[in-house]
Amino acid sequence: MLGRNLWREDKEGEGQKQERLRWETLYRALLNLVNANRVLLIIAAFLALLPVWAVPLAKPLHLNIVATMQMVGIFTIAAVGLNLLIGYAGQISLGHSAFFGVGAYTSAILAVRAHFPVWLAIIMAIIASAIIGLLVAPILRLKGHYLAMATLGLGLIAFVFMQEMTGLTGGNVGIRDIPGLSIPGLRIATDKGEYYMIWIIALIILALCANLVSSRTGRAIRALHQSDVAASAMGINVSWEKIKVFMFSAALGGLAGGLYAHLQGYIDPNLFYITLSIELVAMVVIGGMESIWGAVAGAGLLTFLPKIVEAVPRWFGQGVPSWVANYGNYQGIVFGLVLILTMIFMPSGITRGLSDFVRYRRSPFVNPYRKKVVE
């Protein structure tokens, strides 16, 4: 090694050496970046190519894959924020529909009534959700079941307000004709354009969160999960860290809500009922707690599941008895069963369960969160 470098030094001048070193550093940095963000790049490549095969398949499958993937992107943003709160910080929230709804309504009202540009409205939605998150932060003093119930109450309050403040929100009628996502000068008002736009934002958020959890703040947050007391003994300001992660998670909920409103073009309170909170939590838990990529997997699985369940009877054409085709609640049965079975057999979520299976040849059905019981 040393000898070769000496030999090279003979051949190249000082300026050339500098040049070479600069390129080498750049190349290394690039390699490191690629290496560190392997998962992100694989996902990005998959997503970039998805419309190529998904669009022709949409018709025979009775399933608009690109449109569904837009929703997956939005739910990924919300779920990754919630995963920071639930999976990393260990604080349960069953009220994230509140932030999603606040984001959606803020953005929609500003864009429709005050004629804000779409992206400014979405930024205001993020800020509004974060502020609401700060205002309700006192409930973070609660723990476990109590926190779960309090946040559930929060979601219900937000729902009632959306329904009753008819002057502002339009009540049950909702708000329609919300302008779509677009960039001035660029025509992206198509399905594919919006799809790419949402996923670019989602991937940026994912990269941000992946870096956040390994930062100083991330370690502090994870310390909270283990024990409040131990964390504060280590010099972590427990309540402030909790408030920070809660606000961040609320802000991401608001961002997802804002994007949702502009994508759908129509919102009403029933979209932001408690069921939405439950779906978001289910995405986190099924995808895998304490895993950034779990949020993607959970959001994907749970968004596609009802669509697939809905599409399956149509694959068989006319042969399906009418009571099967007309019964609209298979989603409920399948969703409920998936929740129960995942919790029993794969409580660490699908990403962790499967990656452990591949990496350690360990059964994905082992529960790493099992409490140690002294028998």
């Binding site: 409930i139 119930m149 309050i157 298979y330 049965i333 409920g336 029993i344 019981v373």
Partner: protein, 272 residues
């Protein structure tokens, strides 16, 4: 009260409690109206059937998760709740069913008219409270359940079968839920669910978890204060009555923050 019983003996909040009430009402409808059974028999059968569902849920969902974390258990019971509701729609596809009232007609008092069904609600609540109280304080199984709630390991050390107690608790809670559901059925429609759950839990917290009479007192205080606050808001501030459910939820959060041990309970010192 159903919440209370399950939380007492297993430390799990059962989000499917509202669905037990739903099944109670629906079974009563099927037995009484569709099968033309006498009402009393239909009621007993409906309670038994729902209790069976509760027991099945305990074995299928809760027992495998007995060592799981809180979030896992919450998600699983929510999953059960969604599943039950979908099953309910599969077999009873209409939105609202009317279960015949136990005694139709109204009772005329000097100043007011009270429907007989309301008296049934009051009477049955009183009877079931007394029965549950007696069960928890006088019988061996009830005492064993309370022991489980205080310390499961210690309970199993003195020879209590903890998992069987959990099974009993779910059965009992399902039966009580069914009773609540079918007594209320002529009043309320099909979709008694989450709001009932929130209110039930608030009542249980208000009265102090693990206190039977407390749950009833909590229920009364909650119901009255909810009406008073909503009435106040409507009359003085001039907002619509639609905020009633928000008031209940806000009360829940306030109570959790200010008096998590209940109105009459003492504070619990938590060990690290």
């Amino acid at each position: 009260m159903g919440f209370n019983i399950i939380f007492n003996s297993t430390g799990i909040i059962n989000f499917a409690q509202g669905e037990f009430a739903m099944f109670g009402g629906l079974f009563a409808y099927s037995f009484a109206v569709a099968l033309h059974l006498p009402l009393l028999l239909a009621v007993v059968l409906a309670i038994a059937a729902t209790a069976l569902i509760g027991a099945a849920m305990e074995r299928a969902v809760v027992y495998p998760l007995r060592n799981a974390s809180i979030i896992t258990a919450i998600i699983a019971t929510i999953g059960a709740s969604i599943f039950f509701k979908a099953i309910g729609f599969l077999f009873w596809p209409k939105v609202a069913y009317k279960v015949p009232e136990f005694t139709s007609g109204n009772l005329s008092l000097p100043k007011a008219t009270v429907s007989m069904q309301f008296l049934w609600v009051l009477g049955l609540t009183a009877i079931s409270v007394v029965l549950v109280y007696v069960f928890f304080n006088r019988t061996k199984a009830g005492k064993a359940m309370r022991a489980c709630s205080i310390n499961r390991q210690a309970a199993s050390l003195v020879g209590i079968n903890v998992s069987r107690m959990s099974l009993y608790a779910f059965t009992l809670a399902a039966a009580l839920g069914a009773l609540a559901g079918l007594v209320n059925a002529p009043f309320a429609g099909y979709s008694i669910g989450l709001f009932l759950g929130i209110k039930g839990f608030t009542a249980a917290i208000l009265g102090g978890l693990g206190n039977t009479f407390g749950a009833v007192t909590g229920g009364l205080v909650l119901g009255i204060s909810e009406q008073l606050i909503t009435g106040f808001l409507t009359l003085i501030v001039g907002v619509s009555t639609g905020y009633e459910n928000a008031v209940a939820a806000a009360l829940l959060i306030l109570i959790l923050l200010l008096r998590p041990q209940g109105l009459v309970g003492r504070g619990v010192v938590e060990k690290v």
